[in-house]
Assembly symmetry: C2
Homo-oligomer: 170 residues x 2
């Protein structure tokens, strides 16, 4: 996490300083896809991060301005973690990493049709992801999930290249 700051002026290097480790993007994924927002929820992820490392990562993400922490007003023990606007900017990165992984992992758990949907409507889907997460929702989980939105109102190129724009798009 330490890694010389101000070392190079390369934007890739800058990005990797902020979230280029094994854990940070998994926290972002937990928020974006699964609507997780608390320490114990992150801790319970499949990848088994240890509490001290999670604590350090969250400190790093908060310090880099990607994540915001706030006490839960209803339960004084709880702390809630949300993406900041800067953190929401990681969604395109996350989507590309997910697409790469889904394409190259023979045992991927990602549904093929969802990957295809995102690939073919990337800008629109990134927009939906971002707006949904901004208001506290998630991609796969909850009433206001992007999955639910897509079921109700599919984006442009679903199935055939028929281009009939639905009423509220663009």
């Amino acid at each position: 996490m330490k890694r010389a700051s101000g070392r190079s002026t390369c934007p890739v290097s800058f990005g990797l300083e902020a979230f280029g480790d094994r854990w940070s993007l998994l926290v972002v994924r937990d928020i974006v896809y699964f609507g997780k927002h608390t320490f114990n929820e992150f801790l319970a992820s499949d990848e088994a991060i240890s509490p001290s490392v999670l604590s350090a990562r969250l400190d790093g993400l908060v310090g880099a301005g990607l994540v915001r922490r706030s006490p839960d007003p209803a339960d004084g023990r709880r702390v809630r973690y949300d993406l900041t606007e800067r953190g929401l900017g990681l969604i395109p990165v996350l989507v590309e990493v997910a697409e790469w992984g889904a394409t190259h992992d023979p045992a991927t758990g990602a549904p093929a049709d969802w990957i295809a949907l995102v690939r073919e409507n990337k800008a629109e889907m990134v927009r939906r992801y971002t707006e949904t997460v901004r208001r506290g929702g998630a991609v796969f989980v909850g009433e206001d999930s992007v999955v639910a939105q897509v079921a109700a109102d599919p984006p442009g190129a679903l199935r055939a290249p028929a281009r009939a724009l639905p009423a509220g798009s663009a």
Copy 2:
């Protein structure tokens, strides 16, 4: 780099296993943007990786099938590293990381008009990056660079604010 074993079926996690460390994407960046292909060239990057770590990273990238190593036929000391097809698939990830970094680093070294150009023509630019790197070229360096291609044949939406491409800017 080790991690792995049991793991999850999440494509993001799979991707991070392969290139989710501080150095791997920098090697990919050196190949894609700057046309670097040898050990010493990677070693000389601004970020000062140590030889033992670079060696381990290259082994990892080769092992993950992202990079291919081949002896230089003209110089028996030299070893050349190139992206495989799977490694070329990282270009969209790299582009998104670069865009994020350029957007959020106040001291970024990335030219603003290039970033705008890529943002506004992403699919087309990713295609040009990929084809150029596939045949051994790079984005910013060399006769066949993407910069040179764009100067000769700009992509679609090159009108409003972005102008005056710096022909040889690095």
